[in-house]
């Protein structure tokens, strides 16, 4: 083996020279980050390309961005995408090749196009949304209703976050004196662990809910605020969205960011921008309930008053009607009595008249009969008188006859007399007294 032997350094130098000669240009490359870390101001990345169907890596490479570039590229990228570079992110990098004798091959990054990442993020978000809709869970939270008395609140937040304090203060200082009861379920609200941390908190709330039937939570509030960065990627994951969408309590999000809604916001019951706004929402909701109660109370009172006054009117109408109705009854009854009385009177009158007529008739007959009787009697008397007159002894006396009386009685037979009896002889013009011899 007489061939020339090279040291590793010589060989690597050869590679470097070839690369520098043959690939002097810069290229735009699409890749996925499988790792990303900062060290002494430089950014070290691992790039990967996976097979679209099998997801097995078909290309891998290291890349780095020197601090001089990184301090320019990084703020622009983060401002545009709202995210830090992190594993799993698709990026479009401007690179040139470098081979270093000691460190080997690496792509040197001179620029990053954030719009590509944005597009990829949007696509991923769309994909998650599509999947949620396909599962039929996207709108599940919207079908829940905040309980009327939504006062027992489970809060998922970072324990130390300023937003949590704002939320609690806002609730406590509400102008209506409403009492809220909050229970914090601490969770990490930034970085890689957001998804799992929030899911864990939800599970703890779910567990509490099923073992405290008597004092269950009315709603869950997920808040975040006060953090310096606005890395929202943790809130855009399918697993978190599914957990939130399927949660049996209404979930209110106040995870404060200016960009488009996160998927967490989309599937939640209600989204607001800040923790303070979340507290205001709860206060307003209770205020609406209070207003509704007051309104109902007023309406009930009004209705009752109206009903009572209507009944009063009806009663007075009845009160007025009763004497009038009774006076009709009374008049009718009196007329009836009067009729009966008149009938009685008329019968009595009739009867009296009849009786009087009968009396009169009888009287007439009596008078007639009496008259007739009187006439006939007077005739008889006259005849008797005639007879009597014919029998009158004075007439005989005048003619010369006399009447002998003994003891006042006419003497017809001398044998009736005895010696010594004093007799009286009546003549026309006097009396003779004689004694029998």
């Amino acid at each position: 083996m007489n061939e020339k032997r090279l040291t590793l350094y010589e060989l690597n130098s050869l590679v470097r020279e070839v690369l520098e000669c043959e690939m002097p240009d810069e290229y735009w490359v699409e890749a996925e980050l499988s790792e990303c870390r900062e060290s002494r101001g430089h950014c070290y990345m691992e790039l990967i390309q996976k097979d679209e169907t099998t997801a097995t890596p078909i290309a891998k490479a290291s890349a780095r961005c020197w601090a001089s570039k990184w301090m320019i590229v990084r703020p622009y990228f983060e401002r545009t995408t709202g995210q830090q570079l992190h594993a799993g992110m698709k990026v479009l990098l401007k690179v040139y090749a470098q081979f270093h004798e000691a460190y080997g091959f690496s792509w040197i990054v001179t620029d990053i196009d954030p719009t590509y990442t944005l597009g990829d993020m949007a696509r991923k978000r769309q994909e998650i949304i599509r999947q949620l809709k396909e599962e039929g869970v996207f709108d599940l939270q919207k079908e829940l209703r905040l309980p009327m008395f939504c006062q027992h609140i489970a809060v998922i937040s970072s324990e130390t976050a300023a937003g949590y304090g704002d939320f609690c203060n806002q609730l406590a200082d509400n102008p209506y004196g409403f009492q809220f009861q909050t229970q914090l379920y601490p969770a990490i609200m930034q970085g890689e662990e957001v998804e799992q941390s929030i899911i864990n908190a939800l599970e703890r709330i779910y567990h509490y809910q099923s073992s405290n039937i008597n004092s269950p939570f009315d709603a869950v509030v997920i808040i975040r605020g006060g953090g310096a960065t606005s890395d929202m990627s943790g809130f855009d994951t399918l697993a978190l969205a599914e957990n939130v969408a399927n949660f049996p309590l209404p979930i209110i999000t106040g995870i404060g960011h200016d960009r488009d809604e996160s998927i967490l916001d989309m599937v939640s019951h209600t989204r607001v921008k800040t923790p303070t706004a979340a507290a205001v929402l709860l206060i307003d909701h209770l205020k609406e309930v209070l207003d509704a109660i007051n309104d109902a109370q007023e309406r009930i009172t009004h209705q009752a008053h109206q009903k009572i006054s209507t009944l009063h009117l009806q009663l007075s109408a009845f009160s007025e009607a009763i004497p009038r109705l009774f006076s009709i009854v009374r008049t009718r009854q009196e007329a009836r009595l009067e009729t009966l009385y008149q009938r009685i009177l008329s019968r009595i009158q009739q009867k009296t008249i009849t009786a009087q007529a009968e009396n009169h008739h009888l009287e007439q007959r009596l008078v007639t009969a009496l008259q007739r009787r009187l006439i006939s009697e007077s005739h008889r008397m006259e005849m008797l008188e005639e007879k009597v007159r014919a029998l009158d002894p004075t007439l005989l006396l005048k003619r010369g006859y006399s009447i002998t009386l003994f003891k006042g009685k006419a003497v017809h037979d001398p044998k009736a007399l005895q010696q010594g009896d004093e007799i009286e002889t009546r003549l026309e013009k006097g009396t003779i007294k004689s004694i029998i011899k």
């Binding site: 004497p323 009774f326 009385y341």
Partner: protein
């Protein structure tokens, strides 16, 4: 006279009228029955007046 109900008084009155109109009464009974009828009528009228007053009084109380 013992307490007679209005309807009973009216019925009795009616029966007096009926008897009179059917000639069931003789002259001797007439004046007694007339007197009775007048008593009944007075009773009925008194009852009507009393009821009227009571109604007004009851309504005034409320």
């Amino acid at each position: 006279m013992k307490e007679i109900k209005y309807e009973a008084a009216l019925a009795e009155l009616q029966s007096i009228v009926n008897k009179m109109e059917n000639n069931e009464l003789d002259i001797d009974q007439m004046s007694d029955q007339l007197k009775r009828a007048q008593e009944l009528i007075k009773l009925c009228k008194d009852k009507l007046t009393k009821t009227d007053e009571e109604i007004k009084k009851i309504l005034a109380e409320k």
